[in-house]
């Protein structure tokens, strides 16, 4: 088990900084995801950890040891690539044996370890197959097995599920997560899929433009996003205009079309400021409109089996997106009452 610490890691291409002085600590056995849109520097960061990209500045430490000048093959990492990168001219068994041969593991022990790991990924009996004779999901599991059989210090995964179809992707999420828990290996997972990052990770690192926007547990990231960018990236979000009435110790009292609330605030606001409140669509509950409640008109409703999505219009003209279980259904033109608890709101910024 290895602890990874990254300090002020930077990668420049000419004047452009793909990764800009990022720092993080990854605990032993932790599953951490680097999440962000393409070009945010997540893959470059992973490649620097793996040793495939030179580091412009900063340090990468495995258990305190700086590995920046260690070549990739000496870093003792297991890596799973987006396209699996299985050796097409080798059978499954030869693919798995490759890393063990490099480590000069004796033959009998090699066979034992390969059998064990193949059992783990449920691919016993596939030893003699060539990669092209396997389905995408099977190739994925071979890639995982090949990375794990060498018992590396760290497991790195670069968008490993991107090429699978939706159903298989969900199965593999659970599979990889369970496997990682069982093996207990420190894991860095790169993805642009927020659902993937949320369901699999102990902590998520959200990156934008080469910088870390937020590090936190999936709950932190989703329910307490540090800024609007993070909130938008990890899920849908409504913005509601509100007016600051009074300011307390780290809190502000606001009035909004959805009601009056006392909210914690990290930014400095003054009474009279117009601010934006953010609210997740599923935080809104709907009921038949009664007098004296914040209300809206249903513009459209969308049924997706497990959930109902509503497009709502507030009386001040603003639109809201609400997501509910399809228990009480409302039709276009219905007047509905809106309920949203104060703790589901957060204050994202002052309107200019």
């Amino acid at each position: 088990m290895t602890e990874v610490s990254i300090e002020k890691l930077t990668k420049s291409y000419g004047n452009a900084r793909a990764v800009n002085a990022i720092s993080m600590k990854i605990a032993e056995g932790e599953f951490i995801s680097l999440l962000g849109p393409s070009g945010c520097g997540k893959t470059t960061t992973l490649k620097m950890i793996a040793g495939f990209e030179d580091v412009t500045e900063g340090a990468i430490r495995f258990d305190g040891q700086d590995v920046v000048n260690t070549p990739a093959e000496k870093r003792d990492i297991g890596m799973v690539f987006q396209n699996y990168a299985l050796f097409p001219h080798m059978t499954v068994e030869q693919n798995l044996a490759f890393g063990l041969e490099m480590r000069k593991v004796p033959k009998p022990q090699m066979r034992e370890r390969i059998a064990k790991v193949l059992d783990m990924v449920q691919l016993k009996g596939y030893e003699a197959r060539y990669p092209r004779q396997l389905s995408g999901g099977q190739q994925q599991r071979v890639a995982l097995a090949r990375a794990l059989v060498i018992e590396p210090k760290i497991l790195l995964l670069d968008e490993p599920l991107a090429n699978l179809d939706a159903k298989l992707r969900e199965e593999m999420r659970v599979f990889i997560r369970d496997l990682q828990r069982r093996v207990g290996i420190t894991t860095v997972y790169v993805t642009h899929d927020q659902a993937e990052a949320m369901t699999m990770s102990d902590r998520v690192v959200v990156m934008f433009g080469g910088r870390i926007a937020q590090i936190g547990s999936p709950t932190d990231i989703y329910e307490r996003p540090e800024n609007h960018e993070v909130a938008e990236f990890v899920g849908q979000v409504n913005l509601v205009e509100a007016k600051v009435e009074s300011v307390g110790e780290g809190t502000a009292t606001v009035t909004s079309p959805l009601g009056n609330f006392i909210l914690p605030t990290k930014i400095s606001v003054k009474p009279g400021n117009m601010v934006s409140l953010a609210l997740r669509p599923e935080a809104i509950e709907l009921s038949m409109a009664t007098a004296g409640q914040p209300a809206a008109t249903v513009l459209a409703s969308y049924y997706s089996g497990a959930l109902m999505d509503y497009r709502l219009k507030l009386d001040n003209g603003d639109e809201l997106h609400a997501q509910t279980f399809p228990v009480n259904r409302f039709a276009e033109g219905d007047r509905v009452a809106l309920h949203a608890p104060a703790e589901r709101f957060w204050l994202v910024g002052v309107a200019q």
Binding site: A72, F87, M102
Partner: protein
């Protein structure tokens, strides 16, 4: 015509022009040569009446011809091997993503093909001859007393053949290497392989299809080369192709020349098939 039927003959229609060309310019001539090789040698005419095995008997009875086949194969083999050794690094370098002057380098690779075969061979005689540029320079520098035998021997032929056939080695290998996913090398390194080991265990075996194609091309082209060996080998060293043309055109022995031509084709084909078997890639057909 039903749609199903259209589908049935469609693919054949597409390859029909190529098939027709092959039939007219390859199969028919070969049949002609095959029949001709069993004709009776003529007296004052290219061939006589009836059929006989005498042309093949003459080939196998005279070790001169057998040795000539062996010699031709040997020249073909060496040309192929040298092309491979010189060509692979070039192909490798040309496929590197950070290669500079790629266009220029590509042009240089193709340059031997841009010059007519006679001019090119003549150019080599200017360079390689006893009184040629290389020998004169070396003599003037006092490095040698007598000219080095660079021409009118197998060495000269091989030098000139390597020059012209190098593109036929480099292009297929480049093609092969370009088809290799770069992340495979990264995967090998992540598993603990040095750059050199990753190259030997991953890149090299995966470029085998290109190497195989390049080798077969260069070997076959070397066996059938005529102008270069005849201009550079002169009268002293003759490859089988030169002897075949001698027999057909200079001495007018069509049946015997045909037999010689077929013997060369058949041995060449056998070697290509054996080579193909030896280098068969199980992972490709699997």
């Amino acid at each position: 015509m039903s749609p199903g039927k259209t589908k049935g003959i469609g693919p054949y229609l597409l390859i029909a022009p190529a098939g027709l060309l092959l039939a007219i310019f390859l199969v028919l001539p070969y049949l002609n040569i095959g029949v001709m090789s069993f004709r009776v040698p003529g007296q004052g005419t290219p061939y006589g009446e009836g059929f006989t095995l005498v042309n093949y008997a003459r080939f196998f009875a005279d070790s001169f011809y057998i040795w000539q086949v062996v010699n031709t194969l040997w020249i073909g083999f060496l040309t192929t091997a040298i092309c491979l050794v010189i060509g692979f690094p070039v192909a490798w370098q040309l496929t590197r993503p950070n290669m500079r002057f790629r266009g220029l380098a590509y042009g240089l690779v193709l340059s031997p093909l841009l010059v007519g075969i006679v001019i090119r061979s003549y150019g080599w005689t200017i360079l390689l001859g006893n009184n040629g540029l290389i020998n004169r320079t070396l003599t003037n520098m006092g490095l040698i007393d007598a000219p080095l035998p660079l021409m009118y021997n197998a060495l000269g032929i091989i030098i000139a053949l390597v020059h012209v056939f190098l593109p036929f080695m480099i292009l297929p290998i480049m093609n092969g290497i370009q088809g290799i996913d770069p992340s495979l090398e990264a995967a090998a390194r992540s598993l603990g392989a040095s750059r050199a080991t990753a190259f030997r265990r991953i890149v090299l075996p995966l470029s085998m299809p290109g190497i195989q194609a390049g080798c077969i091309l260069v070997f076959v082209l070397s066996l059938s080369a005529y102008v270069t060996p005849s201009l550079i080998g002169g009268l002293k060293v003759k490859t089988m192709a030169v002897t075949v043309v001698d027999a057909l055109i200079d001495t007018f022995q069509w049946p015997f020349g045909s037999a010689l031509a077929l013997m060369l084709s058949v041995t060449g084909a056998i070697i290509v098939v054996i080579f193909g078997r030896m280098t068969r890639m199980k992972w490709k057909v699997a």
